[in-house]
Symmetry: C2
Subunit: 359 residues, 2 copies
């Protein structure tokens, strides 16, 4: 945290020095767009190239210039106070900045993203935290957090019964301990509840994480920190449709295109795809639904434009098989073979050969 | 649970007896629509009137008749096995029912609702559980749950640091212990995180519940069971807009019109409205947003058609004030006066006079 404050201070001092010399002050930000991104296969995520935009103080930029400085100042203040602000709170705080106040939250979010990219940190390190909650956890994991009085709290994720540990929106300072063999990242709350009910984390000696759809930043960062710390594999278990493959799994593993400056913090490059694959539909005779027009479009787009899919032949094959069959499948479709099928047959069979998981 | 099984068995035996006598078997369900609902002021929720629909076995009804019996049988089976099925799993299980299989989940959901209404129980008592998760809890509360081996687990909601206890989708068997003075039900995860950060539950000796928008059935049932067991007040703290007033607060307190057979289980009639009220906007000089067309429509509809609003003059006044001012307000707007304002000023000031809360 002291490092981030030092960066903010240095940047502010440079601007001050420019002004004192009678020069027009300016700031440089990495360009945040797809044109400034490539898929780094070795690192395993979308990363930023070197393109920058410059914001120089002029009559036209005076407001955004002032807002950027104010946002930097707010970040410095909340870091030093060991406080935090949600994105929406930051917007409301700006209502006290006189003419530098934001008219809409979209404006303050953009400036926040600029500041985040400028310092090459993530928003959470600036103590700006997202609104959405993170995801649920159960299984072989101890989380160490700090309570409001500064005391360490030990959270034992085996002790929640049918409930779960809800990941906080800010996960940077959590510590972990575990003897789990792997982490299973699950798309739906329903499947998570099923695995809890059948004591799956105990049988398979693992950690279950319910992402509840596309994982939030806090959830992705939590999984990332967890797998780095514990050095165990992460397997994704999602619906067998383009939304599950790209919006959920690809985002979890390699990040997204429009927030490339963050992927290095939030992606989980070691994640592997357990299922549900198009092959599973055939092998397990699963009930399916026809692909919708939007599914077909998304799948074709991915083959053509997604740098991740373009790199991985196995994914191209899987997607083509799905398009040929014309169907999608939900992860709860295994219930057709009995409620315990997923726990007693499907997952154990899959986990005998993690080497065959899609990349 | 034995009671529910007995009801199912009795109903099945009656049908069998009718068949053996050579009569056409039939089932009777309460009509699930607004025309079969009234606002019971004394009980505090929307309740069902006596209108019924009858399903007699004929050539035209043979499929739904069979599906209803199958659904009853599935409920009996999972209750007896101490298992459960999500709504989606129930749909997939039906794929083994031959011609009685459901073509879409909407069909199985409808039959499930019929069975639920027929036995006057809630779906969770039939062991059909919703997909969505329940909400987050922190503060002065001990929850007692059972793990998969049948052992009691004690969950201490003061011990989660910046995280929280995630309410399971099935809450019927939870037990509680608490010395809290009240329950604060909060709309947004952001405000929940703010109150956690500032140790609010400790200062105010309360239980915080993050509803994350419109509370799910599990969340409503959790709050309901909690306030019955602990006999302490429930205060709602939501955005000051028609969505917060009706979709969130009114649903929490009095239930909804289209699922009136459930309201007696899920509503929290003792809930009171802490804020944010239209008066708060004036009193605290809060930053606002103009009402959208949909807000205005929703507010006018409520005054005209909502039995709850029609009964409560105070709500009519509040809504008219909001319409006159033409603005809505978010609960995080207090951040304008400093991040700690909500914790150190607004909530303590409000809680000095809970008698003045909107009903």
């Amino acid at each position: 945290m002291a490092k981030t404050v030092a960066k903010i201070r240095k940047s502010a001092e440079q601007i001050r020095a420019q002004i004192l010399k009678g020069k027009k002050p300016s700031m440089r930000f990495p360009l945040r767009s797809l044109s400034n991104v490539r898929y780094n296969v070795k690192k395993g995520f979308f990363e930023m190239l070197g393109k920058k935009k410059e914001r120089t103080l002029t009559v036209g930029t005076v407001k955004t210039f002032a807002q950027t400085l104010r946002m930097m100042s707010l970040a410095k203040e909340i870091i030093e106070r060991d406080d935090m602000a949600t994105k929406r709170e930051a917007y409301y705080i700006s209502k006290n900045w006189g003419k530098a106040g934001f008219a809409e939250q979209a404006e303050s979010d953009t400036i926040m993203d600029d500041v985040e990219a400028m310092f090459r940190v993530n928003r959470e390190q600036l103590k700006f935290i997202p609104e959405e909650k993170g995801g649920d956890v159960a299984g072989r994991l101890l989380v160490f957090d700090t309570d409001s009085k500064g005391r360490t709290v030990k959270i034992d994720c085996t002790r929640f019964g049918s409930g779960a540990y809800s990941i906080p929106t800010e996960v940077e300072n959590l510590e972990f301990e575990s003897r789990a063999k792997f982490i299973l990242a699950i798309e739906t709350a329903g499947m998570f509840q099923r695995l809890l009910k059948y004591d799956y984390w105990n049988k398979a000696k693992c950690i279950l994480i319910s992402m509840g759809g596309v994982p939030t930043r806090a959830c992705r960062r939590f999984i990332r920190r967890l797998c780095e710390k514990l050095n165990i594999p992460v397997y994704a278990f999602v619906d067998g449709d383009p939304y599950g493959y790209f919006n959920i799994y690809r985002t979890l593993k390699a990040g997204s295109g429009n927030a490339a400056h963050l992927n290095r913090f939030f992606c989980v490059p070691s994640a592997r795809f357990l299922g549900v694959t198009p092959q599973d539909i055939v092998k397990y005779k699963l009930p399916t639904h026809p692909l919708k027009a939007v599914d077909i479009k998304r799948a074709k787009d991915a083959i053509k434009n997604d740098p991740f899919v373009k790199h991985h032949k196995d994914w191209q094959k899987a997607i083509k098989l799905m398009l040929d069959m014309g169907v999608r499948v939900e992860q709860q479709a295994f219930a057709k073979h009995g409620l315990d099928f997923v726990v007693n047959k499907y997952l154990p069979a899959k986990l005998r050969n993690p080497g065959r998981f899609l990349p």
